[in-house]
């Protein structure tokens, strides 16, 4: 006896084999299909993106091969292109940005989640979200007109006087360079670290804190030794979200990095990042090899983000495995 299926009754395929049409018009199935299409579209866009980057960079890949990753010259006139200065610049500015933003962001998140009153916490989070919404060009302009003079007249000479023996703080103080770009990036990514870390810290169950306090821990010990470790996966996640933003940031970086494809140990030196060179040279690129080399740089950036994300997941895997007793601590 065939019963007409509807949304209220769950479908039972074994007891009631329906026709193909009937099977596809049940509400559950339609919802399943629509959400599947949404996910598949996302995957399709990612695959198409990589495919297009791969195909359009074909000429440069054929000509340079693996040496593209280790060549230092970028010479459009002679047709020699190498990605090394840009990879270096991207990694250095992102590293400087993370070194500044992570302690700042996580520290602020701990304060807002654990130690501040709820009203203070929500209003400061609101301000931080506003910071995140500011367009990056504005950060670039603020960087050029406010930060660069301060760097050139005060901060860089100061660093040179105190820490000038380190190779990181040598060379003339132009005001623009890796350090300034790193600082501007840090200001841009702090809101990401802050908001995600704060959410994750707030999500740690209350009994964890109470158990720690009951065992005689001080407020700070309970926060630092119990709550933060419980939230560490989320905090790592926020750091890698911030890193992904820093790797791809274009306009703010290109205004303060100096746009000189140089590899130097000093943070005062001007440099170049992948996103900056793409923004600067793409529209005027004449010649197929030049264009193809720029697109290959885009592919390299994509690969870089992919590798760093993979490392992030590995790190999370290892820390959770260690934490849950699978690996020795």
């Amino acid at each position: 006896m065939a019963t007409t299926p509807n949304a209220a009754t769950p479908t039972d395929f074994t007891a009631n084999p329906r026709s193909l049409l009937r099977r596809w018009t049940g509400a559950d199935e339609i919802a399943h299909l629509i959400t599947l299409i949404a996910a598949a579209t996302l995957l399709l866009i990612a695959v198409l993106l990589v495919y297009q980057l791969w195909v359009l960079s074909g000429e440069a890949r054929a000509k340079f091969g693996w040496s593209f990753f280790v060549t230092k010259t970028w010479d459009p006139v002679a047709g020699e292109f190498g990605a090394l200065p840009f990879i270096y610049g991207t990694l250095v500015t992102s590293a400087v940005a993370l070194l500044i933003a992570v302690p700042l962001g996580v520290g602020a998140a701990i304060f807002l989640a654990e130690l501040a009153t709820p009203r203070l916490s929500s209003s400061l989070t609101f301000v931080s979200d506003l910071l995140a919404a500011v367009p990056s060009v504005i950060y670039g302009l603020l960087g050029v007109f406010l930060l660069v003079p301060v760097m050139r007249t005060t901060i860089q000479p100061g660093l040179k006087a105190t820490l000038g023996f380190l190779p990181f703080f040598k060379g003339p103080a132009y005001g623009i360079g890796f350090l300034t770009a790193g600082i501007v990036l840090a200001i841009m990514i702090v809101p990401f670290v802050l908001s995600v870390s704060r959410e994750v810290l707030l999500a740690v169950p209350r009994d964890q804190r109470e158990a720690a306090l009951a065992l005689g821990a001080t407020k700070w010990e309970s926060t630092w030794k119990v709550v933060v470790p419980a939230a560490r996966i989320g905090i790592f996640g926020s750091v890698f979200l911030a890193l992904a933003r820093a790797l791809g940031e274009t306009m703010a970086v290109t205004m303060v990095i100096g746009n000189n494809p140089k590899i130097a140990a000093s943070l005062f030196s001007p440099g170049y990042s992948i996103a900056s060179v793409l923004a600067n040279e793409f529209s005027e690129a004449t010649g197929n090899l030049y264009l193809s080399a720029l697109i290959e740089l885009g592919l390299v950036l994509f690969l870089l983000t992919f590798v760093l994300n993979g490392l992030a997941r590995l790190l999370i895997l290892v820390t959770t495995a260690r934490g849950s007793g699978v690996l020795p601590t």
């Binding site: 459009p76 132009y174 746009n259 000189n260 923004a279 005027e284 690129a285 004449t286 030049y290």
Partner: protein, 343 residues
């Protein structure tokens, strides 16, 4: 209910179809163009004036850069292009129909600087400029600069070189000039809209370069003449091939073009840097419209030819107000003859 829904959809379709046909009504000619950013102010003024005079013509210009303009023209996504540097032979070979170059206005690149203690104009010789940009002349009190500026107290500070980070026609003019006056530059760097600069910081756009120059004491960079005039930036004189130190302004730039028009090739692809002529400014250049020599649509072809004629006669009067130098008469005469080649 269903009938109403079906009728509603049909009505919507009909409305859209009518709008589409109305948009391409009889006599309407729509031209798409793309290319150089340097002449964008004068081009947009011209296209606007032309549309006011001929209301059925709409020319849509996108200033995406000379390289982009050439690419779009070769891909045939635009009807004509614009470029600060002429197309080279390889690019011309890639075009399906021969491309004609029509000079429109003149521009120049000037050396702007920020030297503490120096208020007036500095004189720069070709050797000084090429040495600075090659990185061999590193201090302001180097003999290459002081010998041309007797009586000016130049400090011993380092020269901070500023160039363009983005591809640009201004860079093309500058490197073209340096290639002509310095064999070392020609072999080491060459000319192009984007080159491998031996030294210096890169600023994005004329704005970026001038911001860097204004902020960095001891800096020297090059910007477009119009930009320097409108922003009241101090800039120096350059020694031309006759030995005179000339400051760039509309008269000296036009003099450079007039000197070059004597040996103007038929396809107008000429470089006018370092020309002869006592009053000529040595770092100037034409900017070109790139017009295909064959149009499949005769209405578009007629509009293009008419616009070119208008541009060379009436259009030139608007140049000086926007600080572009006009085309010299000899070049205009030659261009008028060349218009006949568009079919």
């Amino acid at each position: 209910m269903r009938i109403v829904k079906v009728l509603g959809v049909l009505a919507a379709v009909l409305v859209i179809a009518t709008c589409a046909t109305l948009a391409t009504a009889e006599g309407q000619v729509l031209l798409n163009a793309a290319g150089a950013t340097f002449p964008y102010p004068i081009y947009s003024k011209w296209f606007d004036l032309y549309h006011t005079a001929h209301s059925n013509v709409q020319i849509n210009y996108q200033s995406i850069g000379s390289g982009g303009g050439i690419r779009q023209l070769l891909d045939k996504t635009v009807d004509f292009g614009a470029s600060d540097g002429p197309m080279n032979d390889d690019q011309l070979k890639q075009a399906s129909v021969p491309i004609l170059h029509f000079p429109t206005v003149l521009g120049a690149a000037i050396p702007a600087y920020n030297v503490p203690g120096v208020q007036g104009d500095l004189n720069f010789t070709p050797e000084a400029l090429s040495g600075i940009f090659l990185g061999t002349v590193t201090k302001w009190n180097d003999p290459a600069i002081t010998s041309a500026n007797p009586g000016v107290k130049l400090p011993g500070d380092d020269i901070v070189v500023v160039h363009r980070s983005d591809g640009s026609g201004t860079s093309y003019i500058w490197t073209d000039y340096l290639s002509k006056v310095s064999p070392a530059w020609q072999s080491k760097v060459g000319k192009g809209t984007s080159v491998n600069w031996p030294v210096g910081l890169g600023g994005k756009g004329n704005e970026g370069v001038s911001a860097l120059i204004q902020q960095t004491p001891g800096s020297l960079g090059y910007v477009e003449l119009i930009y320097a005039i409108q922003n009241h930036m101090p800039y120096g004189k350059v020694k031309n091939s006759s030995g005179t130190f000339v400051k760039a302004d509309l008269a000296s730039v036009s003099a450079a073009a007039a000197a070059a028009s004597k040996y103007m090739p038929d396809d107008f692809r000429v470089s006018i840097t370092n020309p002869e002529g006592k009053a000529a400014y040595p770092i100037a250049s034409f900017t070109w419209l790139l017009i295909p020599s064959k149009f499949s649509d005769s209405a578009k072809r007629d509009v293009v030819k008419d616009f070119l004629k208008w541009m060379m006669t009436d259009g030139q009067q608007y140049c000086e107000a926007l600080a572009y130098a006009k085309l010299p008469k000899e070049v205009v005469t030659k261009e008028m003859k060349a218009i006949a080649q568009i079919q």
